[in-house]
Symmetry: C2
Subunit: 368 residues, 2 copies
């Protein structure tokens, strides 16, 4: 009965993703997270979220900076044994406080630490992009499967109230037949020294960073898998920021319904937008995928009607994501954004790069 | 002196296009226009503008519907000799009241009537798209050159206050270095019987209609000529509206500066938007190119600041266009949107179709 009740609760949570109020909590204890990577995202964005979680708590930190790790641990009341370096990370297998490892490292380190975490018997929440190649994604999925651990990708928009409401409206025909989804994501990357501009760490440029939001948006707004992609890149290689990775990339996805996805990412202008156009109207988000302050409109011909999703003010995409993974780890359910979802994106990312390189349309459905 | 004064006035008008107030008029008389095609645009949109023109007046009508032509002529006080059918149109050479022929016919008739008008010794204002092929555009330019007559294309956005102000802001660096121009234009084409859906009349689908606005916007917002284009098309050929022409087409233009132009047109959703993204901010128009009601914003990160161009309420793109052509015809100046400008677009349009057909990038600069 208890398992059935959990299943029901989880199903409800999956439908109204991340919407389950803390009072519905059925877990006997909060699951423990180890955060790997105490950079801006891990330390500045994720760790502060645990205070609002119903099913998740901070249990350990992993960092290359012992002083920083010690300070963060002290601030959050973690015992000394729950502070790890990259070298001794594998000892985490012996730490019963840690159920889930959340990989907040540069892209090129995702595969290694996901696989090491799985081998240590931990579930893994890995930031997007899942890794820097399809081969790495496949190895990560295999490692988690072998270890019988869950693997989830940090696609936070699947827990963000505006994006969830936009998906719901798209599915229920609020815009009519979906013809075109547009998504643009970019920001001005100012420092030439940022790890995101180093190929060895980032695996690519804006596509591997903001581009994943555009790609995800085209997929979750249409609810379809693309069958072909055509891409163009534009990068000023004399700009010291862009000696290793691309600045700007533009791609068109073709979906089985005939809908097109027009996507873009860049490191030389600020932009954050999703627009769905259907034969009866549109759904627009701008900003669309920020940490907060997102906005949405639904209308026949523009921004006639601003939409505030139910419980938008009460919900938080980061908390929703952390607790969803904790519930999946506890109940054995598959995360709604699994490793397979990350792999799907990475297959398309590789095709986007290939299309831009070769100047031709690349099929994604195996057709010639 | 009179000629010099006219030149100065025309130069000022060219700078603040269409902005010259009627009181500056130096023309001894209004030039006479013959309107060919009394459909929605010619009859419903253009003819009512003459009452506000400083340099232009309605002088003749040409129609395949004698009763309609007679009624319109009577309403506007035109003599019987200034009413023409397509068959007797060439007699217009003997009508001294007519200086300029404005071709408001379906696309596939533009070339024939432009050439016949030039041969009749008249200047020509031809609606966009200029024609249905590069070869036709070249023949039109040649015919007007031989006849020593001016040829202008009805690119009304070059006389629309919001678009003019957007161009000015783009050139003066209001958004910083221009990285990306996005333009989407579409509407739901409901009737399968519309001439715009017949290949023999329209020469193509949404690209030949709304797509020209997107293409123009990418060119006049960047101020550059594209060097390559990559396009994809999506059309439901089972839809009775789209048995002959395309519904939706998406293309990426590459400009010499490295800026990209992401353009789109469609007949299955409403959209009308131009967005310029630069490294310091953006310029956005939505709706961008409507007959009226256009709006514009300039901002670092969205729609922070709504812009109303100087004299926007006093100016009208249709009047500006008609009077500009009249002044060019009177003074011998080249129109700011000449036949060469229409030809440039048609070369790109042919490359867009070719790229979509062949699934590869097409160079526009002659490079391999």
């Amino acid at each position: 009965m208890e398992i059935e009740r959990r299943d029901l609760l989880l199903s409800a949570a999956a439908l109204t993703v991340g919407m389950a109020a803390p009072t519905l909590a059925a877990s006997p204890r909060k699951l423990g997270y180890a955060i790997i990577g105490l950079g801006y995202y891990g330390l500045g964005v994720i760790i502060p979220q645990f205070r609002n979680c119903a099913h998740s708590r901070l249990a350990a930190v992993v960092s290359g900076d012992p002083a920083k790790a010690k300070r963060v641990a002290a601030e959050h009341g973690l015992p000394a044994r729950s502070v790890y370096s990259y070298a001794d990370f594998d000892r985490i297998r012996d730490n019963p406080d840690v159920d889930i490892v959340y990989v907040c490292l540069p892209n090129a380190m995702h595969a290694e630490y996901t696989i090491r975490a799985a081998k240590a018997g931990k579930h893994v929440l890995c930031e997007k992009p899942m890794a820097v190649s399809v081969a790495e994604c496949e190895a990560m999925i295999a490692a988690c499967k072998t270890a019988n651990r869950k693997l989830m990708i940090g696609y936070r928009c699947h827990f963000e109230p505006y994006n969830l409401e936009a998906m719901r409206l798209a599915r229920t025909g609020a815009a009519g037949k979906i013809r075109y989804v547009r998504s643009e994501h970019g920001f001005v990357q100012r420092s030439p020294d940022a790890w995101r501009l180093k190929r060895a760490l980032a695996g690519g440029g804006s596509l591997m960073d903001m581009g994943v939001y555009s790609l995800q948006a085209a997929r979750y707004m249409t609810g379809e898998e693309p069958v072909a992609v055509t891409a163009r890149e534009s990068t000023d290689r004399r700009d010291p920021r862009f000696t290793e990775v691309e600045d700007m990339i533009d791609w068109t996805l073709e979906f089985p319904s005939g809908a097109l996805g027009g996507c873009q990412s860049m490191y030389s202008a600020n932009q954050n937008r999703i627009l769905l156009m259907g034969d009866k109207g549109r759904i627009e988000l701008e900003p669309a995928t920020r940490y907060n302050g997102n906005r949405m409109w639904v209308g026949e011909d523009g921004r006639e009607k601003a939409i505030t999703p139910p419980r938008a003010s009460a919900r938080n995409q980061f908390v929703g994501q952390l607790d969803h993974m904790a519930r999946c780890a506890a109940t054995g359910h598959e995360p709604i954004v699994s490793g397979e979802e990350g792999l799907r994106d990475m297959r398309i990312v590789e095709a986007i790069y290939r299309s831009a390189r070769e100047g031709r349309t690349i099929r994604l459905d195996g057709r010639a």
